[in-house]
């Protein structure tokens, strides 16, 4: 009846296959049980059971509205664009579960101007500088000498350590700091007074990569679980 050219026929079949595969992929990859296939890498230690939506909240509006808003923005009809698909993950997402009053180094403190030089070296105003997600670790920094950025002038009265803090700083032994002090100060443990009794660097490195916690399991505050966060 109709004379369909072989080329057009192939185009239609190809289009249909693409459509079916696309719809199937969209359906399968958005199932909660298949989240690990969508994730760009293994979740960091302690986050293994989190769902995507715990951090990646849906952006405001429908997908069509988001397209409309961003097109308007591109054409100059709207002052700001909007998030597409999901909202940007910020430090506030982390703090919803990890914020606590006893944090020794809360990120907000580093917004103060006197830290402007330090944050050129290490941006402590945001969590992901040290805890980049989807790496299957705790700390994603290459080096653990970060204390040197702020504590070069440290002076400890009645120094309780057998090797003085002054000497450690003079010798630039910055990796020794966390052999006694956990950065966020959330563990309850006895701090060693002799250098030989401090936590071995190997154990610390293993912990930062996701291993056993050498500071102990007695913590002052625990981060919220996903269930607790949902109930908040």
């Amino acid at each position: 009846m109709f004379n369909v050219s072989p080329l057009r026929k192939r185009q239609v079949i190809g289009g249909l296959i693409g459509l079916v595969v696309g719809v199937a992929a969209f359906f399968l990859l958005t199932l909660e049980s298949n989240e690990s296939y969508v994730s760009i890498g293994p979740m960091n230690t302690g986050h293994e059971t989190l769902s995507c939506y715990a951090c990646h909240a849906d952006a405001k509006g429908s997908l069509l509205q988001q397209v409309q808003s961003n097109t308007s923005h591109a054409l100059g009809f709207r002052e700001k664009g909007v998030d597409f698909g999901t909202q940007d993950v910020t430090a506030n997402n982390c703090l919803e579960c990890h914020d606590r009053p006893n944090d020794r180094h809360p990120i907000y403190r580093f917004s103060e101007p006197r830290f402007s030089d330090a944050i050129q070296n290490i941006d402590a105003t945001t969590c992901v500088t040290c805890h980049s997600e989807h790496h299957g670790e705790r700390i994603t920094l290459d080096k653990i000498n970060y204390c040197m950025n702020c504590h070069q002038d440290l002076a400890v009265e009645n120094d309780p350590l057998d090797v003085s803090h002054k000497d450690l700083i003079a010798k630039k032994q910055w990796t020794t700091c966390i052999q006694c002090h956990d950065f966020h100060g959330n563990h309850r443990y006895e701090v060693a007074s002799k250098m030989k009794d401090t936590i071995a660097l190997k154990a610390i490195s293993s912990y930062l990569k996701g291993g056993v916690d050498p500071y102990g399991t007695d913590k002052k505050y625990s981060a919220l679980s996903q269930e607790e966060w949902l109930k908040k």
């Binding site: 405001k60 409309q68 909007v82 907000y108 006197r114 702020c150 002076a155 009265e157 009645n158 002052k220």
Partner: protein, 274 residues
């Protein structure tokens, strides 16, 4: 040629217009439309800084100063499990700052000095430079922090009570032991992202500070609740000057409001004259 123009310009333009014409995600600024900015950031930071002066002086004199006379303890390690004490004034301020940061108002508050007890609180760079001027004339200093894109103000923090002087002079880690009443011991630094604020935003800034005060004071009262060895002061409407008492958070905040509200109200109602 016609087809070329249609493909390259007309169709994409029409498609874009159709997409745009259907609306989009409502703009957040809509709720602020119709509200003009009525205060400069400098005015607002001065207002909240005065509230802070009153609050800190009240806490230092009426709670820490008088409380110590009643045998109450205040310690820099007050959060530690084995320490049964309340926060020292500097840590009280840090508690307020932490609470503010947890809330939605983008206000930053910090305390520093050129001779801090904790070396980590020593001013550097621009702040150290401006603090020299503050020590001379006790006048506020304002600047724009380009790296953080924040409007910044610094206000003198004076030794307003005997407790400030004795604690700092006697502290084992002090780098200066001849402080006297009225000295500029340090400065508070305040930051806000906008150069001017609406009435609603101004009130939100003041409220976030007041909430911060209540939050840290409540934490102190909560700490007392968990004292095991020390005698617990009675919490109600009485103050340490009358004995082993502490005011409730509401009574404390009421007193702050009574002492500070005149200055703040003067600013807020001055709008009618503008």
């Amino acid at each position: 040629m016609k087809t070329f123009y249609k493909l390259k310009f007309t169709y994409p333009l029409l498609a874009s217009l159709i997409v745009v014409a259907c609306g989009g995600v409502p703009e957040e600024k809509a709720e602020l439309q119709g509200e003009e900015n009525v205060f400069s950031v400098e005015e607002v930071l001065e207002m909240v800084s005065k509230e802070n002066d009153v609050t800190r002086t009240l806490y230092t004199k009426a709670i820490v100063g008088k409380g110590k006379l009643q045998g109450m303890k205040f310690d820099e390690d007050w959060r530690k499990d084995k320490v049964e004490a309340g926060p020292l004034p500097a840590l009280f301020l840090r508690g307020v700052a932490t609470s503010i940061k947890r809330g939605p108002v983008p206000l930053g508050l910090y305390l520093g000095s050129d001779h801090p007890v904790n070396a980590a609180n020593k001013f550097e760079g621009k702040q150290a430079e401006l603090f020299e001027q503050i020590k001379k004339d006790q006048e506020p200093q304002f600047f724009y922090d380009d790296s953080q894109k924040l409007h910044t103000a610094m206000f003198a923090d004076l030794a307003s009570a005997g407790a400030c002087v004795t604690c700092h002079n006697d502290h084992p880690q002090t780098t200066k032991s001849d402080w006297k009443l009225g000295d500029v011991m340090g400065a508070t630094t305040w930051q806000y992202p906008k150069d001017s604020l609406t009435y609603k935003e101004t009130v939100a800034v003041l409220n976030s500070y007041a909430k911060g005060t209540v939050d840290i004071y409540m934490e102190y009262l909560d700490e007392i609740e968990h004292f095991k060895e020390s005698e617990k002061p009675e919490i109600g409407d009485k103050w340490p000057q009358d004995g082993k008492y502490l005011p409730t958070a509401e009574v404390f905040l009421d007193s702050v409001k009574k002492l500070s509200s005149y200055e703040t109200m003067k600013h807020l109602v001055s709008l009618n004259k503008k």
